[in-house]
Amino acid sequence: MKSPTRIALASAVALAIACAAPAFPQTYSVFDAGKRTQVAVHVGALTIAEQETGSPEWSGVEAGGAIVYSLHKQFSLVGTYDHGFPITSDRDHRNYLRAVGNLKVYPPPTERSATNLFIGGGYMVIDRAAGAESWQGGLGQVVVSHLFADGWGVYGSYIHGFARDELEADVNVAKLGLQHRLFGAR
């Protein structure tokens, strides 16, 4: 006959195991925005060069934010806004808007790593100085990020922008900085 103490102990252990780790990977509806949405901010250096000249057209400090919708453990939809602050008085402020589909190519889907590599494609708008027309076009990008603490990381990214207007040149954008997750799944 089992004693009440043993039954209580066994129940407590079973409950603790059930609460500590789910038996299966957690899945959610693809429309569950509450579980899937993350918001992050970043600050760093940004430089943009026209494809033809190669010389930096604009460089400065960027501060921005992103809304990330993790649609899959290997794929997310990202909307970002960056504001570029010039470091010299002869340059203007810039605004950068991007809508990107990000494919996570490292680490493998069964693993979690401090270092993450994403490749993505999407659309970019660069709002130039007042009076000048904005640049628009498709983009391809590579982002490497290294997380060094909970919700904190450093990033480097390269973006190639394919000009929509034939009269415009393609652009290359390089970014390097510090990122922080404000909220979302962890």
């Binding site: 990977p25 957690q26 899945t27 959610y28 509806s29 693809v30 429309f31 579980k35 899937r36 993350q38 918001v39 992050a40 970043h42 760093g44 921005g64 992103a66 809304i67 990330v68 993790s70 649609l71 899959h72 453990k73 290997q74 794929f75 997310s76 990202v78 970002t80 990000n102 494919l103 996570k104 190519v105 979690r112 993450n116 994403f118 490749i119 993505g120 982002v143 990020s145 997380l147 990381g153 990033y155 990214s157 970014k175 900085g177 990122q179 997750r181 979302g184 799944a185 962890r186």
Partner: protein, 83 residues
């Protein structure tokens, strides 16, 4: 051999002593044909470490199939790609 190899690697923009040693190790003891193939494979790895297009297509197809089921896992580190 070192000079010729170094020139080839320089032309590809990947010349360094470590890589030359790696090539020597990879090629050591192999017949000539296999040696060439081994060196070519190593250089391809260094020049273009990009994802295999067929593998990438399979990955994208797999993701699309998973998403179509309406229920998927999330990536808790997806925010790191939002820069």
């Amino acid at each position: 051999m070192n000079d010729a190899l170094k020139k080839v690697l320089e032309a590809l923009g990947i010349a360094d002593d470590g890589l030359i040693d790696e090539i020597k190790e990879r090629a050591a003891g192999l017949p000539v044909e296999e040696r060439v193939a081994a060196i070519e494979a190593l250089i391809r790895e260094k020049v273009s470490p990009e994802i295999d297009p067929a593998k990438l297509a399979a990955t994208i197809t797999g993701i699309a199939r998973d998403v179509m089921t309406g229920v998927t896992e999330i990536d808790p580190d997806a925010w790191a790609g939002g820069v």
